[in-house]
Amino acid sequence: MAIVKPQVDAVIVGMGWTGAIMAKELTDAGLRVVALERGPDRDTQPDFAYPRVVDELEGSIHRKFLQSLAKETITARHGSKDTAVPYRQVGSFKPGTGVGGAGTHWSGCHFRALREDFNLRSNMQQRYGKKFIPEGMTIADFPVTYDELEPHFDHFEYVCGTSGKAGVLNGNKIAGGNPFEASRSREFPLPPNRNYLGAELFYKAAREMGYSAYPIPASNASAAYVNPYGCQMGPCNFCGFCSDYGCLNYSKASPNASILPVLRLRKEFELRAHAQVLKVNLDGDGKRATGVTYLDADGKETEQPADLVLLCAFSLFNVHLMLLSGIGKPYDPVAGTGTVGRNYSYQNLNRVTLFFDDSVQANGFIGIGGGGATFDDLNGNQLDNAKAGFVGGGVIWARQPGSGPIRGITTAPGVPNWGSAWKQGVKDAFRHSFYYEVQGACMAYRANYLDLDPTYRDAFGRPLLRMTFDWNDNEIRASQFLVGKALDMCKVLNPKALSGDAKKTGEHYNITRYQSTHTCGGAIMGTDPKTSALNRYLQSWDVPNVFAPGANAFPQNNGYNPTGMVGALTYWAAKAIREQYIKSPGALVHT
């Protein structure tokens, strides 16, 4: 017999960024909220305390702060005729677990989407004609506009103490920021971080190439800061342990440092860690959620009844829970029907590495996750897509989240993998090389999608989520074009050697190599319940007391990191719940 807990107003599945934002907003509105987190509870003290947190073996090999794949993973394949196999070892992407989720081990790049990213499909059609979008590419406009989200982008940046420089403020261009960004209503809460060598040289090379470089908006505090919730941040000390690690210094914004200190004091909020949600329970006709079933820390099956269910897990696991629970119709790529699993997309990440002689002190061990420099001259409307030959743009950036020898030392071309020549190669490269990256958009396609695996199961007996994904010609052309531009730019700096990893024509997705944790789509927001799982408020079309904020809602992915957009969308959805849904529970959009 399952244990049945007392009914609450809202149950939140997952305590990362979206869960923490929802918990804050809904307890502000007076709701009683229970949050269920599958992983352990974590806080800066003691979990991210120096010195233990900076152990590279524990952080980047044992992956102490990431999701273990032992209990839950996905399966993957390149095409719908292939047999999927499990993602057995962490490679291509790194979901988080525990309180804070991926928001504890992210780097801190905190972008807003461009205005034109919101209406990608209609913008492409308008600029280049209907035929420009290739057959099988299923990109769509977001059902919200930049102007609707602006206050929420702004608020999330202030919660995170984002460090940057506005390029367009209330319609006026100002020097030092991104001249191509959509207008901001306020300057960033903190000024940009200082530049390490690689970023400084990026400005130089960009200037010579005629690009307008600007500081990457970084949720790594450039100075002491108190956010609107009263949470305090300390200035980043460039420790070099951002990606994979919790911040030891209260400098990188995270749910743990930026929101939970307030939530933990609230009587209306209860956090249950080690609570593995198995499914959302629906009433008889499947149109209303009655709560969730989970395993408690002791493994006992427990039911948490709630009026409102908020799916705030990592994007892939939001889709998984919807499929397992029967929320929305599963997508069928052959018939083109159904919505859940549709438009899975990713990120087109590529790297160029520059090697110098030992007079150049690149010091890659000095690191700041979100700091650095980038430009938008090849992104959004700045890019002539017809000339470039692909849909979607991208950014080239200098980023240095911090390198250490266990995380790997990239050696110059021609250096072997072992032996004395390798030793010399790592010695030459470690302090005297740095890299730039190309982060390209990734379009959605009819053939790239998520569903349930017919064979493999998780530790709880549920079918694993199955990912069918491969690179398309559009993304390969984008990779070649953008990496080519990056290499051209690097030559300005006269490195001793230069390597780049543009995707080769016909190359298949390699899930063993870390690329990006920006897995997007699968339960997308839209205007048509036939082609989207969620409405413009991230509310399920089919089960209106379920909301699913996250990158799962992106119809396709743009050239930026998703967290800024995910935060803004979550505040936007929370506002709709507070101002509309609570007064009159039910569908917020009628078709």
Binding site: P46, P86, N195, C239, F241, N363, G404, W418, G419, T512
Partner: protein, 238 residues
């Protein structure tokens, strides 16, 4: 999870107790020389008794690691840095027994872009691989084990394992080689608390400051090498 019983000292207290001084007060040139000195050769492997590997496996590990990271004037060899001890200890961690890997079947063949799809965790890949290589050596080299081969034969064998040209019983030679190389590099560069990187000698070779985790004063310095020697998790200076 981490051991939370001991109170965690603040970074400032820790540095104070170790007598570390602000960067500006350090003789910069002197430290730079220190980082460039050849690393200490530490004859530590004689003292360590393996608890995971048997005698034959231990002989393989010591010989193979020193092929991968040999003794030379660039920096310490794998065994001088304690890599075999690291691997012996690392094989006994939850990580090496598949703690963070999905280990459920069915186990089917897949393209290399999907990663290792076999049923063995790291520690068994290493063990089965060693057995396979030694069996191969016994056949090819008149009953001798890998450790008993001439160095150039050892090197050639590892190269053919890396290239996937070697056929082994029960394991892909390429997969075994890749895990062995990873373990060797980890043992070379890990914090000394894990058994490798004795005296922080591999960190000194590449100029890694180790676990300092504070570079506030050095972000914008361009004209001189980072001056401080490494510090490990225990607070020891290299």
């Amino acid at each position: 999870m981490s051991d939370h019983k001991a109170p965690s000292p603040s970074r400032r207290q820790l540095f104070k107790s170790l007598g570390l001084v602000p960067i500006a007060a350090v003789g910069l040139a002197g430290c730079a020389r220190e980082a460039d000195k050849p690393a200490d050769a530490a004859p530590v492997q004689g003292d360590y008794k393996p608890t995971f590997f048997n005698a034959a496996e231990w002989a393989f590990i010591r010989a193979a690691c020193d092929q991968l990271i040999p003794a030379d004037n660039i920096g310490p060899s794998a065994s001088q840095a304690g890599v075999p001890e690291f691997i012996d200890r690392h094989m006994q961690t939850p990580y090496a027994s598949g703690d963070i890997w999905y280990m459920q079947g069915p186990f089917i063949e897949a393209a290399p872009q999907f990663g290792y799809q076999g049923r063995l965790p790291v520690r068994d890949i290493v063990r089965v691989g060693i057995k396979g290589i030694d069996a191969h050596c016994a056949k090819q080299f008149n009953g001798r084990s890998f450790a008993q081969l001439a160095p150039k034969d050892q090197e050639a064998l590892l190269k053919s394992a890396e290239a996937g040209k070697l056929e082994l019983e029960n394991i892909s030679a390429r997969e075994f080689f890749s895990q062995l190389l990873n373990e060797t590099r980890m043992g070379y560069f890990c914090d000394p608390k894990h058994g490798g990187n004795k005296n922080m000698s591999a960190w000194k070779m590449i100029g890694y400051p180790g676990m300092r985790a504070d570079y506030t004063n050095w972000v914008e310095v361009r004209d001189q090498p980072y001056p401080l020697p490494p510090v490990d998790l225990a607070g020891k200076r290299g």
